[in-house]
């Protein structure tokens, strides 16, 4: 492991190069292992590929860079509060389109904080959706038989399948 390197270069699944600081990369367990295993120096030819598309990777790296100082040194309550506000804004942006990609990336990169945040954002978005809208975004088919639908309606009046 080379401790002198401050930033590493990674490739997205689209083949684009991105730089991420070492302290930010440590937020991800697999990236951290990579840091320990691979020699990241300027003359090193090997550029690891992260199986995340460029648009998503930009967001993931942005999150890591923001959270790295606190994760590495611990922070005061006011910093934690500030970070919480930042998280809310971060998830408010155009993230909606790539939320599921961010979820998959956070899962793949073992990033607990981002994963929790993305799960909660997805849950908050779902609250206002109809059953049909939910089926659409999760690619689900209504597989209840008409008898089962009838039974559910009987057990739970007001139960909607649309």
């Amino acid at each position: 492991m080379s401790s002198s390197v401050e930033a590493i270069t990674v490739l997205s699944s689209d083949g684009d190069e991105f730089k991420i600081t070492v302290s930010a990369a440590k937020l991800s367990k697999p990236l951290n292992w990579m840091l320990e295993d691979v020699c990241f120096s300027d003359d090193c030819d090997e550029v690891p590929t992260i199986e995340v598309n460029s648009k998503t990777l930009v967001k993931v790296i942005e999150y890591c860079e923001k959270h790295a100082p606190r994760a590495n040194s611990g922070a005061s309550d006011s910093d934690a509060e500030e970070l919480k506000k930042w998280d809310i804004e971060f998830m408010k942006m155009d993230v909606k389109d790539i939320l599921f990609h961010i979820l998959m990336a956070a899962n793949y990169l073992h990033m607990e904080g981002l994963y929790d945040l993305a799960c909660q954002t997805a849950a908050d978005l779902m609250k206002g959706m109809t059953v049909s809208q939910i089926r659409k975004i999760f690619h689900i088919k209504n597989d209840f038989s008409s008898e089962e639908q009838e039974q559910l309606r009987r057990q739970h009046p007001g139960c909607s399948f649309d």
Binding site: S13, D14, D16, E17, F18, K19, I20, N53, S54, K55, T56, V58, I61, E62, E65, D97, I98, F100, H101, L103, M104, N107, Y115, C119, Q120, A122, A123, M126, K127, V131, I134, R135, I137, F138, H139, I140, K141, N142, D143, F144, E148, Q149, L152, H156, C159, S160, F161
Partner: protein, 212 residues
């Protein structure tokens, strides 16, 4: 952070075109669903069979309870409500503000002679995973040999009848309610005792499995 590519890459184009939503692993979907409020979960049981079955599993219920306890702790208050002149159940938030007044259900009890009017909540024995365990009312009635417990879920409005417990001693028994992961079922433990003399207690205890 450097993004070397300024132009739209293939995945961006795909997004921009039709907003293609990727398929999520079921594990990830479960992690999202655990964070939904109960009302949404009840609404989404009609999405598909997998979801409907998932919401009934003990592991999901436990994980969901874990999340909601962290997100929004509530206090359930059972008191006599003078404005309604009846006992009430109120859900209070962290600031002790009333979020919801729950109407207390009246229960039909078929297994006990009708001269004992057990039909309302007498006392809350305990709560677990959204279920409340009640001792039904009028149990202070002299000579009444029955103790009736009932499970009720205030959010789903489901209720479950528990076999009546015949009491041996006149002292009010001590009861507890909880979930046992060993038998994968809810358990009620009732213990009634009478102090015979200073040397010992005369006691009677029993365990009721609620059953799914």
């Amino acid at each position: 952070m450097d993004a070397n590519s300024e132009s739209l890459n293939p995945s961006d184009k795909r997004m921009a075109r039709g907003g293609e939503i990727p398929f999520l692993h079921f594990e990830i979907i479960i992690n999202i669903l655990e964070r939904l409020p109960v009302k949404s979960i009840l609404r989404f049981r009609s999405v598909c069979r997998d979801w409907n079955n998932l919401f009934k599993t003990q592991s999901f219920i436990a994980k969901h309870a874990h999340h909601s306890a962290h997100e929004s702790p509530f206090l359930l208050l059972h008191a006599y409500d003078y404005s309604y002149k009846r006992p009430s159940l109120r859900l209070l938030n962290q600031k002790m503000e009333t979020v919801e007044v729950l109407s207390i259900p009246s229960f039909e009890v078929l297994s006990v002679p009708s001269k004992y009017p057990f039909n309302h909540v007498g006392k809350i024995i305990g709560s677990c995973n959204g279920w409340l365990c009640f001792l039904l009312g009028m149990l202070c009635l002299e000579g009444c040999p029955w103790r009736l417990l009932r499970l009720w879920n205030p959010l789903t409005r489901e209720d479950r009848e528990i076999p009546p417990i015949r009491r041996v001693h006149m002292c009010p028994p001590i009861s507890g309610f909880g979930f046992s992961s060993i038998v994968n079922d809810y358990k009620i433990v009732a213990f009634s005792y009478r102090q015979k003399n200073i040397e010992g207690l005369n006691h009677d205890s029993r365990v009721v499995h609620v059953g799914n």
